[in-house]
Symmetry: C2
């Protein structure tokens, strides 16, 4: 038996936590099955915004084959205190949208800076269609 | 331009990092599309082992409908130094296997303890079929 309890976080609380920006993990169906990658992101105009390289594996995996078509992804953030055996996680699910030239100016405002070297000129926006979260705390 | 470089980690190095156990994130295709959840895990006999509740959403999502059939998942670990803009991540992809009664004794040896209260008597093993990792460091 454990002395921990799980609480669901409501949508407002989930969005409050995700709006801080930082590191999140994008999950999607790649050519090799499910895939998860950490990315640094910002929250901007109701969406997660991150940058990647055009024609990268991530870019290509997120293509639907339809211009302007969106690919269903999940984006997760968490904060885990391993020693204290407690933590929380928030998951958003929704379409990943490749930001077009016309939309770039708004995405640039998000101010998200890629860490890795090389051109990372592709902006991806994830607009949440489902937001869930949970917290494990001592009873 | 950035002063960071990305290095691929070889399989041996990836397995060395994942063998430490701790917190990882399982990603899979759920009834709502891609899903990611943090779990605490141990590495045992060449596989990731974690526990969940039987008949939980996670359990049910990982069912193939075929007894003993396995469901393709991804399992990610990472270590990110946000202030230093560096970090690494390792991804394993492979089938998630529900440990049967006959196999329980071996899984118990892994010694993985669920944090949350309630019965979490279902053991899940992920045997890697693909292992990749990368590290972002200052140049």
């Amino acid at each position: 038996m454990s002395d921990r309890t799980i609480t669901e976080l409501d949508e407002a609380e989930c969005l409050r936590r995700i709006a801080r920006g930082g590191i999140g993990r994008i999950a999607y169906h790649s050519r090799y099955g499910p895939e998860v990658l950490p990315v640094n992101y910002q929250w901007h105009n109701g969406a997660v915004v991150f940058r990647t390289a055009a024609h990268s594996a991530l870019d290509e995996d997120l293509q639907t084959g339809i211009t302007g078509g969106d690919y269903q992804v999940a984006f997760e953030i968490d904060h885990i205190d391993e020693a204290g055996r407690q933590g929380w996680s928030v998951l958003i699910q929704g379409p990943a949208h490749h930001v077009s030239e016309a939309e770039r100016e708004s995405a640039l405002e998000a101010g998200v800076e890629p860490w890795a070297s090389g051109e990372r000129e592709l902006f991806v926006r994830i607009v949440p269609s489902r937001v869930t979260g949970r917290e494990i705390t001592p009873v």
